[in-house]
């Protein structure tokens, strides 16, 4: 009975046999676990669409009300906290997985003939994923989001000639205000996902057209003249049906990914809402979400004279690199014969991790909440030294310099500065400042400087 019904549907639509052809199309043998990251990225996107639609039914995309609706979703709506958590960790998974997927295809040179356009559509999908991540962070419309919009606009403003126009386009006007959030919402929810759907469709059509790339072998270069013929022979000789011989790994990995995202959503939960999105509240510590934290560090640590180049040319160079990769479409695929490719991937991931750790510590940020030094650390009753220690805290020295583990990390630790600098040297440094230190002659009276120098000379 079911069989007859299915046969009838297939006769009238052709969908079932088409799906079967796709599912059972032969793929190269021994593809293994390295091939699961693309499908897992797709699954993460589907997860984002589902949880995103649910959240959109309660979220109010209005600059004045989004914050309250987020509070409602997080604190009162049934499953709201869980769905926000899923959407956050789903986004994290999607960013991470597409990063691994692009690294894998690059390391295995799967972009070579005839799959150049698989790479290019994937590269655009990578950029769109990052755009979704950025706009999505902003929809968590709290204080950090507002300042992230401004920081984003200020970065765009560095572009030559059209910079200020791009900045106005991002802010939707002269300042953050009523128009800003609605636009980000429309981009995050309609425009970018529509492009992603279209490009995923194209990406998958290309995957089916050219087949999944076979495992690379050292000493077996790609030659466009013979590649297709050899690939077809490989499939005829050793090909296995995609479903279930290869697909089971995608399913196992994908299910594990969804379970992990759900567990994190339950155990860790979504990021807390910060203070309200009021640009007149100046006690703010704007920080991007983890996937952009490394770039936040790049912006802090870049040499000042190279900064414009890094902000403007950096993303362009990154885009150009993604664009030119598939034009090197012949030759060896095995990473053993492409040591530079391996080095590049290791380099990029190392840079991201190193900058990410730096962004997490943010030693360049002043420590506004540093407490006064305890008497025990000051370690004497000498009135000048005690007065110096108080000034050291009150005049903001401690925002950037630590003593005995208390204080900022921007400047050198001064716990034992008396050992390495004379009183004259300390005076000169305080008076004149340095590359990253204000000249305190404009802040302190000579008596105050004297007291601080006395206190610091005492540190040994």
């Amino acid at each position: 009975m079911t069989g007859t019904l299915l046969a009838w549907i297939d006769d009238r639509t052709g969908l079932i046999s088409a799906a079967r052809r796709v599912l059972e199309h032969p793929v190269p043998p021994r593809t293994g676990w390295w091939y699961v990251f693309g499908s897992a990225t797709l699954l993460a996107f589907i997860l984002q669409v589902a949880t995103g639609i649910a959240l959109a039914t309660a979220y109010v995309p209005s600059s004045g009300q989004a914050y309250d609706s987020l509070k409602f979703i997080s604190e009162q709506a049934l499953l709201g906290r869980f769905l926000r958590g899923m959407h956050f960790f789903g986004a994290s998974a999607m960013v991470l997985l597409i990063g691994i997927h692009v690294s894998r295809t690059y390391l295995m040179a799967a972009y070579k003939f005839p799959r150049e356009l698989n790479w290019l559509t994937g590269a655009v999908l990578l950029l769109l994923t990052l755009a979704l991540a950025f706009t999505g962070q902003l929809l968590r419309w709290d204080q950090s989001a507002v300042w992230s919009v401004i920081v984003g606009a200020a970065q765009a403003g560095r572009a030559p000639v059209i910079g200020p126009e791009i900045a106005r386009f991002i802010l939707a006007g002269d300042t953050v205000g009523g128009a800003t959030l609605s636009r980000f919402f429309a981009f995050h929810v309609f425009f970018i996902p529509a492009l992603v759907f279209a490009l995923i469709g194209l990406h998958l059509i290309l995957v089916l057209r050219h087949g999944i790339s076979e495992r690379p072998k050292a000493g077996d270069p790609v030659d466009p003249a013979t590649y297709r013929q050899r690939y077809d022979e490989l499939l005829r000789r050793e090909g296995v049906p995609f479903w279930p011989d290869a697909a089971w790994r995608d399913v196992v990995f994908g299910a594990a990914m969804v379970a992990t995202v759900a567990l994190l959503a339950i155990i860790v939960g979504p990021p807390d809402l910060g203070p309200p999105p009021d640009p007149s509240l100046l006690e703010a510590y704007p920080r991007p979400d983890w996937y952009f934290l490394w770039y936040f560090a790049v912006l802090a640590m870049a040499p000042h004279h190279l900064e414009n180049i890094i902000i403007v040319a950096g993303p362009l160079i990154f885009g150009a690199l993604l664009l030119v990769v598939p034009f090197f479409n012949k030759g060896e695929r095995s990473v053993r014969r492409r040591p530079l490719a391996a080095l590049l991937v290791v380099f990029i991931w190392t840079m991201i991790v190193v900058f990410w750790v730096a962004g997490e510590r943010a030693p360049w940020s002043p420590d506004f909440d540093v407490p006064p030094l305890p008497a025990q650390t000051v370690g004497t009753n000498d009135s000048t030294v005690v007065a110096g220690a108080k000034l050291f805290h009150d005049r903001g020295c401690a925002f950037c310099h630590a003593i005995g583990g208390i204080g900022g990390k921007r400047g050198p630790d001064l716990s034992d500065v008396g050992d390495r600098m004379s009183a004259d040297q300390i005076t000169a440094r305080i008076t004149n400042g340095g590359p990253n230190m204000p000249a305190y002659v404009r802040v302190l009276s000579p008596e105050e400087t004297g007291a601080i120098v006395e206190f610091l000379s005492h540190r040994r």
Binding site: A154, E165, G177, S280, L282, A284, E307, G434, N436, M437
Partner: protein, 168 residues
């Protein structure tokens, strides 16, 4: 492509005309829909917010030499802007009758600088920019001094003129 049937010269010319006509009509229909959409998206580039004077307090509310944050409303707040219509400035009373209003936006990347009165410095929480009391850069990545906003006294009220977020 397979050869089309009845491909005599007149039919070919007719087909060529019909395909050109169809393409042109499709493009026109697309433009009718697409151009207003693009124009709407880029409208903020042509729409300048009016600059208006906002009162931030009476002259006697401020002590000479002190720098405090004041909040006021944007030039043209939309009805649904809520708290996002607010903005702030660091206002200093220089003497009996003159004031200076500094932007709260770090010239590095726009983060909110804080005035630390004891240290007489503006500090930025994002990438560690520091400015002296007069707004000049003293340390860190900022490329320019803190901008100032026009400020005036009218009928005993201190007024600041609304301005766009300074984009370097």
């Amino acid at each position: 492509m397979d050869a089309a049937p009845h491909a005599d010269a007149a039919t070919l010319a007719r087909r060529r005309f019909l395909s050109r006509l169809s393409i042109a009509l499709s493009a026109a229909a697309g433009a009718i829909v697409g151009l207003p959409v693009i124009g709407f998206l880029f409208a903020p580039l042509t729409r300048k917010a009016p600059r208006v004077w906002r009162a931030v307090g009476r002259v006697e509310d401020f002590r000479v030499g002190e720098t405090v944050s004041v909040r006021f409303e944007d030039g043209s707040p939309l009805p649904w802007a809520g708290v996002t219509a607010r903005t702030a400035a660091w206002l200093r009373r220089d003497d009996a009758s003159s004031f200076t209003a500094f932007s709260v936006h770090c010239t590095h990347l726009g983060c909110p600088v804080r005035w630390i009165s004891e240290a007489k410095l503006f500090l930025c929480p994002c990438h560690g920019g520091v400015y002296y009391a007069d707004g000049s850069v003293s340390a860190g990545p900022p490329p320019k001094p803190l901008p100032t906003y026009p400020v005036r006294v009218r009928n005993g009220q201190v007024e600041i003129e609304t301005s766009p977020i300074p984009i370097v």
